[in-house]
Amino acid sequence: MTDLLLEWLIKIAVIFFILITVVAYLSYIERRVASWIQLRVGPNRVGPLGLLQPLADGLKFIFKEDIIPSQANKWLYIAAPAIAIVPALMTFIVIPYGSEVNLFGRTVPLRVTQIDIALLYVLAVGSVGVYGVALAGWSSNNKYSLLGGLRATAQMISYELSLGISIVGVLLLAGTLDLVEIVEAQRGAWLGFIPKWNIFLQPFGFIIFFISALAETNRVPFDLPEAEAELVAGYFTEYSSMKFAMFFMSEYFHLITVTSVATTLYFGGWDGPGVDRFPLLSIVYFIIKVFVFIFIFMWIRFTLPRFRYDQLMRFGWKILLPGAILNVVITATLVLFFPNLIAVRP
């Protein structure tokens, strides 16, 4: 039992460390990608190629003055960024990062744990982050923050519906909520070269999932709740220094979570050519796929204009939700009449 506990603790520490570094450097990558798309050079002064920029930003955040506005609800104000960031961190332990490797004489699977309701856990824990947003808007005692917080909350819960229902399409093909088994079910190929990824069986489900993920993480074109020109900074207007940084980081954590889930559900997770002979390739494939998605998210951010709030809500309720439900109905009908599409055999 104790060496199991040790194994878990080591894996959690490794993932934690890698995640914090990746999130810090995501802000750097975002600024670099933005500048390339906008035909300018991004941050390149701090350190070689500007690579120490996140470190400088982090230090700046720590040393800034921590202001608590006079009439704010003090404890809620302090707790809100913590409520936003803790669920965002908790989703990473059930995602399979790779197949199994042989380390120190034991077979170590490249994931922290395998629970049988992994996908439901990810959805549920991710939804708790909405509380942080709502409480931040309310406790700041600022009209702009409150409005921004309410609008962000309404947007996030509306798109959570289509996110949850679009996942049902993948479940109908896989027959299990366990992310490890969903990845296992996508191994192999049809006709020898087309990989058995769910994207080929669920293209509309993927599109709905992708658009809902854009809206869930409050990214352009759905980022009105934090648009500078409209609502100052929305629900984090009154936050300074580390608490602001925590909201920022929670947004990047959510981004990594949804891209990892999209990779796992629709693009075969860590699957790829040559994984059986070199298990370490599996984690390389996973990282490549996740970063391709992150790049696409950023590309979209710096290319499209943003939606007005009523257009955004109309889109979520009147187009995406019926679309997701239609996807479920069609997938269920096809699976009923062609059961050989189902990937999981008992």
């Binding site: 009439q71 409150l146 009523d310």
Partner: protein, 132 residues
């Protein structure tokens, strides 16, 4: 080797403790390391530089409440859809349950039609409109 069963849920507790500790450390760090010189202007709610007018604790529009209610209803539908979707392919691929195939399918389709009627009602009533 990897265990199975409830033991696998313990890492969730571990990461909750670690993440909560991490958040607490971040907050305490900035409290200790940052300066603390509050002035009247710094502590006022920000309203683009002018004195704030009115209170922030007024009543908000009922639209947000309506969206939350409708979200609740459809989230319950999603909660029922997910276990059904996990069970359905298992029913289809096991021969001892082959006779239940159409019952499984038909029952969920009826459930979704009832909720679809609900969505159409909400749509026609205009709850999903103006500023939504």
């Amino acid at each position: 080797m990897e265990p199975s069963g409830v033991v696998n849920y313990i890492p969730i507790l571990l990461i909750f403790v670690i993440a909560a500790g991490f958040a607490a450390i971040m907050i305490i760090m900035s409290r200790l390391a940052g300066r603390n010189r509050p002035t009247r202007e710094k502590l006022m709610p920000y309203e683009c530089g002018v004195e704030p007018v009115g209170s922030a604790r007024e009543r908000q529009s009922v639209k947000f409440y309506m969206v939350a209610m409708v979200f609740l209803l459809f989230d319950i539908e999603a909660v029922f859809l997910i276990p059904w979707a996990v069970a359905f392919p298992n029913v289809l691929t096991r021969p001892e349950w082959a006779s239940l195939k159409y019952v499984f399918y038909g029952e969920m389709m009826i459930f979704m039609v009832i909720l679809l009627v609900g969505l159409i009602y909400v749509w026609r009533k205009g709850i999903l409109e103006w500023n939504r």
